[in-house]
């Protein structure tokens, strides 16, 4: 075990502040430091994940304040898994964006990596914190860096997208604050475990109202249906790797917050059905919208939203199997969608419009990138033997075991739609003629490595899903077992007070 949970948040934040300072001395450090930091975090987080998989959950109290009163960090199989995943993606994004486009210049790179660090720190914080207000703070950190990164290209469109994101984000913050205020006023505590422990004390009306405000606040981050208007624009206008980071990091953090609320904090049984319904609606609306898009990244954005809908459906099944499937889906989506964004951003590298029609015939000119995009497309629509298949299968099995046949049918029908739009793009890449005014940009070596890592993960999980299934099982067990979570967190406090 290397490091501790608090370092996972502190180091990137620290790095974010240090980058400009050290950058004054040695410009290249602006790019190198984040990589080193993320690499360290990855090692640390992975070793902790190994530890918690085999031993008990790591719970760290900040500044000696014990559990119900102070802020504590919970590095459980679930949170550890998600944190590791996010850090890994952060690393991939760093590797990819090292000297990507305008980041070559000093000033933008500084901003870029500062915000990337903050984004990772915030997202990891959302996942591993055990305090609901602390989580709100981290959500804000993540959101603010996300707004900034959306507007990174400083064009008219980027600014507009960023502004939309900001608008929605502020709605989200207000809703969250209201929800937290309701809970605090009723229960007088902000510690998640404590809230969960005392939830039965809360009057139903308050409980439901708080939950609804949470739904709205976190739903905006987690891209559920009527609240995800910002997403397509933000994904489209942000730099390619940032799109990957959104899909792989920000949204995952939002989903985590949502399921932690629904599974652990609140004990409202109907919320599961709500998740299923809202997930299905999100899935259907997003996938059907994706089919008519003419911009590549926008299409990927809708697809991303749709996948999140599917994740919610899987969580909404409510069984350990469902949770397992949902986590598996999150893992796969966090691998595949970044791959699509990264390779996609090279496919439309020099294009202004980022039109799908501009990828015509690139298969001959950039074979590996195209191949990786195709691999991603094959994987995300769930074709065996790639990783996406196993998660889709898990979702369907879990749903079938609960007798949700109609849901299976809907999910599968939507999958057909998904196939159509992904294959249209793949067909264009390989079987159309390249138009002359498209300038091909060969990917840099670091970007290539980043994509190849993701691609090989897809293949490895595809051929042997059992490599990850043990962590996923642990994580789903962790999420399902609310009592254990409460006891774990609170017992630390009690043992210290005694």
């Amino acid at each position: 075990m290397v490091g501790s949970p608090v370092l996972l948040i502190a180091i990137p934040l620290l790095a974010a502040f240090l980058i400009p300072l050290i950058g004054m001395i040695w410009k290249e450090s602006v790019r190198l430091i984040p990589g080193l930091v993320l690499a360290f975090m990855l090692v640390s987080s992975a070793s902790m994940l190994l530890y918690v998989t085999n031993n008990s959950t790591i719970i760290e109290t900040i500044a000696g304040w014990q559990a119900p009163w102070g802020i504590n960090l919970v590095f459980s199989p679930l949170t550890g898994f998600l944190a590791t995943l996010m850090i890994f993606l952060g690393f991939i994004v760093w590797l990819f964006s090292y000297r990507f486009k305008r980041n070559v210049d000093f000033e933008p790179a500084k901003k870029y990596f500062i915000f990337l660090m903050m984004l990772v720190a915030g997202a990891v914080g959302i996942v591993i914190t055990g305090d609901i207000f602390n989580q709100f703070v981290f959500i804000e950190i993540t959101s603010i860096s996300a707004y900034a990164l959306t507007a990174f290209y400083t064009g008219r469109n980027s600014a507009e997208a960023s502004f939309k994101y900001l608008l929605m984000g502020s709605l989200s913050s207000s809703a969250l604050l209201i929800a937290i205020a309701i809970i605090y006023s009723q229960l007088g505590t902000l510690n998640m475990a404590d809230i969960a422990d005392k939830m039965y004390l809360m009057p139903t009306g308050y409980k439901i109202t708080a939950l609804i405000f949470f739904f709205m606040g976190i739903g905006i981050e987690a891209e559920i249906f009527p609240l995800n208007g910002w997403a397509p624009d933000a994904y489209t206008e942000a730099p390619g790797p940032i799109g990957a980071a959104f899909a792989g990091i920000v949204v995952k953090a939002g989903v985590y917050a949502m399921i932690r609320l629904v599974f652990t904090l609140f004990d409202i049984p109907n919320s599961m059905q709500f998740l299923v319904v809202i997930g299905l609606v999100t899935l259907i609306v997003a996938e059907t919208s994706a089919i008519k898009q003419d911009k590549l990244k926008r299409m990927l954005a809708y697809s991303s939203i749709g996948q999140m809908g599917l994740v919610f459906v899987a969580f909404g099944i409510g069984t350990a199997e469902g949770v397992f499937a949902a986590l598996f889906l999150m893992l796969n989506h966090a691998i595949i969608k970044p791959l699509l964004f990264l390779s996609g951003s090279y496919l439309v590298f020099n294009s202004k419009e980022k039109k799908i029609s501009e990828v015509n015939g690139l298969g001959k000119h950039m074979p590996i990138t195209s191949l990786l995009f195709a691999l991603g497309a094959f994987a995300i629509v769930g074709l065996p033997p790639f990783s996406g298949f196993w998660s889709k299968l898990s979702v369907l099995t879990a749903a079938a075991n609960e007798g949700m046949i109609l849901i299976i049918a809907l999910v599968l029908i939507v999958s057909v739609v998904e196939i159509v739009y992904y294959f249209r793009v793949v067909n264009r890449i390989y079987f159309f003629e390249k138009s002359d005014n498209v300038v091909v940009q060969k990917p840099r070596i670091n970007a290539m490595i980043a994509m190849l890592i993701l691609g090989s993960i897809i293949l490895v999980i595809g051929f042997d899903p059992d490599i990850v299934s043990i962590y996923l099982h642990k994580a789903s067990h962790d999420l399902m077992n609310t009592r254990e979570y409460i006891d774990n967190v609170l017992s630390i406090g009690q043992s210290l007070t005694k």
Binding site: E160, K164, L167, M168, L171, A175, T204, I208, L211, I212, F213, F215, M216, P226, L227, G229, W230, P232, D233, I268, N270, S271, F274, V285, T288, S289, I291, K292, Q293, L383, P384, F389, W390, L393, S394, L396, T397, A399, A400, N401, G403, I405, I408, A409, L412, I413, S415, V416, V417, I419, V420, F423, R424, N427, Y430, F431, D464, P465, D466, S469
Partner: protein, 617 residues
């Protein structure tokens, strides 16, 4: 290492290596390609035995691989046709671009088909099924023509089928807590009535798509004609048989146990009959040989489906025999078209003519295959047809037998069109430079042609493994009751002795051929096809007198009412409607931040208003 693993790994490794190392030099690539098809084939037939299963766990699902007698029969088709087609492909595809891609997909699809046959559980069945689908999809779009239309259509239909199947699989898993096919079969009787209907229906949709059953056949003509012919031979010959394979298992092992499942069988049989008629009529209307054969494949698969739908032992025998025969002759015909397309550059029946003297071997193999296709004795096609009619009459399907007979009579029309269009008719100067295809292409075709003949005389060679497969499915042994090595019997004990008939046919043919030719060769001289009685006119070199436009127009005029309505148009109507709806949903995302904020507000207001209804405790 278990032989089954080794075989699949060899296929997979061969596919990858062919692609990667193929970039070094074409010779390495060709050798790798052929050897990675042939070596596992040899290993399979030498070492894999029926009844030896291996199983392992993935994600908590128990997967099991092994081979059954029925699958063994189909593996003859897959590996036999696969080996021949791969040898052919090396010669046929010489000089084309992206060959590594082509070859590795070729190997992958053979691997996936073998995987399907080796799967003893539903998940690996599905996995290999999907690999087969996408590898064949990549072949369909390989030439880069009509990709968005034909390719997407193929994949969407395949996906609908596959997902129907997947749905059935997960439901089965939830019901039996096991994915083994044997467990599904054994516990099927205890399912509830709705599940008894739902599961076979869903599985059948999946298989019906692959075996191009009406009304799920619309992908087939485009896909068959769009992929390179060396692969279409596999596609139509072997790949579509996977649908047949699945269908047989479902129909025999599941549908038989549904109360009133009889009606489902009848429906399937009738759909097969309609498929046969529709496919045939459309095949007659085609001018492109590939399209013609593609529709003809649809029609031939229709016969097979009829046989499966009837489900009596004789019908099953006929369906399986026709499946084997169809693989042989239709595989061969696609190879023939490939050879002609390679030599002449076109596969349009109205453009090419009079190749018989240029490509005699190709002609002979085409002739054999066409005679087999038309079901004319003494070639193998007849045996399957005979059994089908006998089983239909014997099981009281009097109207269906008329439908099937109509279709197979109308098949003569396109059979003749195929032969005439390419090989007969006027020899044009345009094609005077055409040479016979290289030996590597001719030899596989001739082997297949000889196979049609041998199986016509000794159908027992194939009926024996079929019988083993049927016994495995629970039928009583049919040897001696319905067939001998070269004799066929029907339900009422009437018989056809093939050997004397074949000898009689050969004897009469040789006698009259000798009568007409022996003296003729000394005294006659060959005159060109320009030297014909055309009212005394001497046709000029460039004057093309071949009759090939609107070849069967009178017939088509007669059947016009049947062909007015195309299922295709309905599907494209549905497709367009859906796209319009999707375009509407897209507009939900207006791109306006205020709207999005409004959505958020509406969202929370609605939730708050209906909170008791939604979350009421």
């Amino acid at each position: 290492m278990e032989m089954i693993y080794l075989i699949l790994v060899l296929f997979l490794g061969g596919a990858v290596l062919t692609w990667l190392l193929g970039k070094i030099s074409p010779i390495i690539r060709d050798i790798l390609f052929i050897s990675s098809v042939i070596i596992p084939t040899v290993l399979f037939f030498m070492n894999v035995e029926v009844g030896h299963d291996v199983s392992f766990q993935v994600l908590g699902y128990k997967l099991s691989w092994g081979i059954s007698y029925l699958a063994y029969l189909f593996s003859y088709i897959v590996l036999g046709l696969g080996s021949l087609a791969s040898v052919y492909a090396v010669a046929a595809m010489k000089g084309k671009k992206n060959l590594g891609f082509f070859y590795s997909n070729f190997i992958l699809s053979i691997m996936s088909m073998m995987g399907i046959l080796l799967s003893r559980d539903l998940i690996s069945f599905f996995i290999f099924w999907e690999i087969m689908t996408w590898s064949s999809y990549l072949m369909v779009v390989f030439r880069g023509k009509d990709v968005q239309k034909v390719g997407i259509k193929y994949f969407v239909f395949s996906a609908i089928g596959a997902y129907a199947m997947l749905m059935a699989i997960v439901i089965v898993n939830s019901l039996t807590n096991s994915l083994l096919i044997s467990d599904l079969v054994s516990s099927f009787g205890s399912f509830s009535l709705s599940m008894k209907w739902l599961i076979p229906l869903l599985l059948l949709i999946g298989f019906a798509v692959k075996s191009a059953m009406m009304p799920l056949h619309v992908w087939a003509p485009g896909a068959y004609s769009n992929s390179p012919m060396a692969f279409t031979s596999m596609f139509s010959g072997a790949l579509s048989k996977m649908g047949v394979y699945g269908m047989i298992i479902v129909m025999v092992s599941l549908v038989s146990y549904i109360p009133n499942g009889f009606w489902l069988k009848e429906t399937i049989a009738w759909l097969g009959g309609i498929t046969a008629v529709g496919g045939t009529l459309w095949a007659v209307a085609q001018d492109d040989a590939k399209k013609l054969l593609a529709y003809s494949s649809v029609a031939q698969l229709g016969y097979i489906i009829v046989g499966i739908g009837i489900g009596t032992p004789l019908a099953m025998l006929s369906a399986l025999f026709m499946a084997v025969m169809h693989a042989i002759f239709k595989g061969n015909l696609f190879l023939v078209v490939g050879a002609i397309e390679r030599q002449t550059g076109t596969s349009n029946l109205t453009e090419v003519s009079g190749l018989i003297r240029k490509m005699p071997w190709t002609f002979i193999s085409a002739l054999f295959s066409i005679i087999a296709l038309a079901g004319i004795p003494p070639l193998g096609g007849f045996v399957g047809k005979w059994m089908l009619y006998e089983s239909l009459i014997g099981s009281n399907h009097y109207l269906l037998v008329i439908v099937v007979f109509f279709s197979s009579t109308a098949a003569f029309l396109y059979s003749y069109k195929f032969l005439f269009g390419f090989f007969l008719g006027q020899e044009e100067k345009e094609w005077s430079h055409i040479k016979e295809a290289p030996a590597m292409m001719v030899v596989p075709m001739m082997i297949l042609a000889v196979a049609t003949f041998v199986l016509g005389t000794f159908p027992g060679l194939v009926l024996n493994p079929i019988d083993n497969g049927l016994q495995e499915l629970g039928f009583a042994s049919t040897q001696g009751r319905y067939w001998e090595m070269s004799a066929l019997f029907n339900e009422w004990g009437n018989q056809v002795m093939l050997q004397p008939l074949v000898y009689a046919i050969i004897a009469v043919f040789l006698f009259f051929a000798a009568f007409l030719t022996i003296k003729g060769f000394k005294h006659t001289r060959y005159v060109t096809t320009k030297d014909i009685s055309s009212s005394g006119e001497v046709p000029k070199e460039h004057e093309n007198l071949t009759f090939s436009q609107n070849f069967f127009q009178p017939f088509l005029r007669a059947v016009e009412p049947f062909m007015k309505r195309r299922i295709d148009t309905y599907y494209s109507g549905i497709g367009n409607g859906l796209e319009a709806i999707f375009d509407f949903t897209r507009r939900i995302y207006t791109g306006n931040g205020q709207t999005y904020a409004l959505y958020a507000v509406i969202f929370i207001v609605v939730l708050l208003m209906f909170k008791n209804a939604l979350f009421g405790l």
